[in-house]
Each structure stands twice: as C-alpha cells, then as structure tokens.
C-alpha cells in the first residue's frame, strides 16, 4: 500500500514539475469542444443533440494524448526494471500509475464538463448526468488505455499504433456514456446506461492492472 501511494505521489510530483504535457491534453479537450458551437452557430436544438457525442469523443482523444506518457518515460530511464524488481506487487505499482493518470487526465475532464456543457446549452439535469457518466467512464478510459501504452512500449511509431489498438476498445464506453446524456436530455430512463458503464468499470478494474503489468514485463524482456 505504501508503494502504491508512493508511486501515485511520484507521478503527481513529476506532473507538477512538468506541467506543459498535461495542460496540452486539457487544452485540447477545451478547444476541440469549444470549436463545435463556434462552427455550427447558434442552433441550440442541434447543439444539444450533438453535445454528448462531441464531448465524449473529445474526452477519448484527450485521454489518448496523455497515455503515451504513462510508461514511456519510466521505460526509457530504466525505472520500470526497478519497479518490476521491487518486493511489492508490480500489479499494484502499475495500478498506481493508472490511478495517477486518471487523476491528471480524467478527473479534470469531469470537473470541466459543466463549463463545456453550457456552451452546448445543456440543462442542469443533463450536466449532472454528463458529469456522473464521465466520472464512471474516464477511469475505464485510463484503465483500457494502459494496455495499449504497455503493449506499444519500445515500438517505433508506438503512439499511432496505440491509437489504433485502443480507440476500438473505447467504443462501448462512448456508446453508453454519450447514450446516458442523450437519454436524460429526452427524458428516458438512464439507469441501464449507468449499470453498463459500472459493469465496464468493475470488469476493467479487476483485470486490466494485471494485464498491463504482464504486458510491461514482456516489453522489458
């Protein structure tokens, strides 16, 4: 547990020392989502309709921007070898890295979502649903993304390959996350969407850290 906290603390400290990399991903999210209302104009009915999809797609892409960093730096300077040789469980350490990635790349999206949603003329109820869906969905994005980041370690042109590997895996999260917001805006029941998002989250939480840890070990060999 100490090692888990230490690795989360370390990753957050490294982000604080080098803020630009993280801010890039967040600005990307804000800019992309702001371009749509500007480009489409003041057609509020249309904006409300496309809002869930646009915001979720932007969230997927900005998560992807931060993923490359998850293991690459530790791989390059030999830290990953040290983590594997730690007496603590490597899976727990990898989970710490995934958690730190979510704190830095996922949580801010949840907090920014209401501001972005206002640009799309979403009502208060939809904003709440959007935040809740992102809160449940973005950890899944970080978890699934870690598999891609681990599998493409040390591969030349890895970031493009990673996008191709990971984006298809994001489709269920996109469907149910955006679907929940849309359903809420037209007054349908949203519990189904949330149950499925929750199921995805639990499944990913149970298996992904282990899968990623083993993928990293293979890359190190």
């Amino acid at each position: 547990m100490n090692a888990f906290i230490a690795i989360v603390h370390r990753d957050l400290l490294l982000v604080m020392r080098r803020k630009s990399e993280v801010l890039t991903a967040l600005f990307f999210f804000v800019i992309v989502t702001s371009l749509f209302p500007l480009g489409i104009g003041a057609d509020t009915a249309l904006l409300r309709k496309i809002a869930p999809g646009v915001i979720w797609v932007a969230a997927l892409l900005s998560t992807l921007l931060g993923l490359q960093r998850m293991f690459a730096a530790d791989y390059a300077d030999g830290t990953l070898e040290q983590l594997i040789l730690s007496p603590n469980s490597f899976t727990a350490l990898v989970f710490g890295k995934i958690f730190a990635h979510w704190l830095v790349c996922g949580l801010p999206l949840v907090l920014l979502a209401p501001v972005i949603g206002i640009q799309f003329d979403l009502d208060a109820q939809s904003l709440k649903v959007l935040m809740a869906a992102l809160l449940l969905g973005t950890p899944v994005l970080s978890l699934l993304g870690s598999i891609g980041a681990a599998l493409t370690l040390g591969v030349r042109g890895g970031s493009v390959l990673m996008s191709l590997l990971i984006l298809p895996l994001y489709i269920p999260v996109l469907i149910f996350g955006a679907g929940a917001v849309y359903a809420s805006s037209v007054g349908l029941d949203i519990t189904g969407h949330f149950s499925l998002l929750g199921a995805l989250f639990i499944l990913a939480l149970a298996f992904v850290p282990w899968v990623s840890a083993n993928a990293v070990k293979i890359a190190i060999e």
Binding site: N2, I5, L14, D77, E81, L85, P87
Partner: protein
C-alpha cells in the same frame, strides 16, 4: 560516516546459483551450459568483450529475463517461484540510472525506499548522500547533476537499500578515480557484512574476495 549497512545472517543458504544457463539473443547463442555459484561474502567480476552477453547474464540473474534453458536459484529456491522473497534481497543497477531527472537526489532516494519497502529515516538518507560528496546538492533536480554525481546518488541508494545481493552493470563507468576507490570500499564493506555482489566492469578491481568469470 554512519553505519547504515547492517550485516546479514551468516547462513550457509545465502548463495546465488545458476545452473546450465543458455541465453539466446535474436538468432545468436551468447552462452550455453553456464554454471556459477556466488556465496555470501564473495564478489563475482564478469569480464568479456562487448556484446559477449555480460548484461544479458546479469538480467538473467535478476529474473528480468528468462533463460532459454537452465535456472537461477537463490538459497536453493528458483527465483521465478520465490520472486518476491528474492526481490526483497536484491538490488540491481543497470546501465541506465533509473533516476527521475525532475526530482531531487533526496526525493529519488525516498521514492526508492518506499518502492523497495524499506523504512529510511531522513537522517540516514542525508547521511548517505553526504558520504558520497553530495552535500549541498541534495535538493537539486537530478538533471542538474553530472553523470558521475548521478552515480554517486546510486551509491547512496546501494548503501540505504539494505539488500544482500547486489547485481551491478558497469558500476564504475563515469566515476573519477577517487569515486572508483569509494565504490570499491563500499563493495568491500558490503562483502564484509555478508553481502554478495555480481558486477561487470572493464577495469581491474582490487576488492578482497573477488572472483573473475571470463565470458
């Protein structure tokens, strides 16, 4: 100097052993049927030309890679089966320094103490850095240190880690003559405390209890 390095129990079981190791990189067989034994208090110096498989052998001994055939044993148990127990006793320093450039020397030490599951008091952490001439540089980001000074941070880590088995890949690179002597003293001290060391180096070493393996 503070005596952080505690002695390890002098049980006859503390032995690192390799049996019939075969290593293949790409298409080439680097070595096959390699046997070795290193007992507590001994230092094994692995020599050989570039590309002969020194680093590959060290990585096999740490368990980072698996041999094509053969096995590595710690105290008679396979390091694959009792990985956590072995890792508890192991310090491996590869040719990349594994220090975080944006963090200071002291932060790096604290981080590794947490990851290695050891308790490291502030006093010991500072004392270990001071011993290797890093007084006044504890809080500088590591990217402000020279290559030799980074190695000194690693020497502080060797001192504080409390591992019985040290596996060191080219530990003498980038060190000045004074630091080379300091590192040899540190290794000798570790051997006296019942530690064991496997290292690669291209320079002749003066360490008591040294054995040489030519690959």
């Amino acid at each position: 100097m503070t005596a952080i390095n505690s002695s390890f129990p002098a049980s006859s079981a503390s032995v690192l052993e390799a049996r019939a190791l075969t290593c293949i990189r790409g298409e080439r067989e680097l070595f096959s049927g390699l046997d070795l034994q290193v007992f507590a208090g001994q230092c094994l110096h692995i020599r050989g030309e570039n590309g002969v498989g020194k680093t590959s052998l060290l990585r096999l001994l740490t368990g980072l890679t698996s041999p094509e055939s053969g096995e590595v044993l710690w105290s008679g148990h396979s390091i694959k089966e009792e990985a956590s127990e072995y890792h508890n006793k192991l310090l491996f320093l590869g040719h990349r320094d594994a220090l975080k450039e944006d963090l200071s020397a002291i932060e790096n030490l604290r981080l590794y103490a947490a990851i290695d599951g050891i308790t490291l008091s502030e006093q010991d952490a500072f004392a270990s850095l001071w011993r290797f001439g890093l007084k006044g540089r504890e809080d500088l980001p590591v990217n402000c240190l020279s290559a030799g000074q980074k190695k000194r941070v690693l020497m502080a880590r060797m001192l504080t880690r409390g591992a019985q088995v040290w596996i060191l890949d080219e530990p003498f690179n980038a060190l000045d003559t004074h630091a080379v002597q300091e590192l040899q003293d540190l290794i000798a001290e570790h051997l006296r405390g019942n530690g064991l060391v496997v290292l690669t180096s291209h320079q002749p070493l003066a360490i008591p209890g040294l054995r040489v393996l030519d690959l």
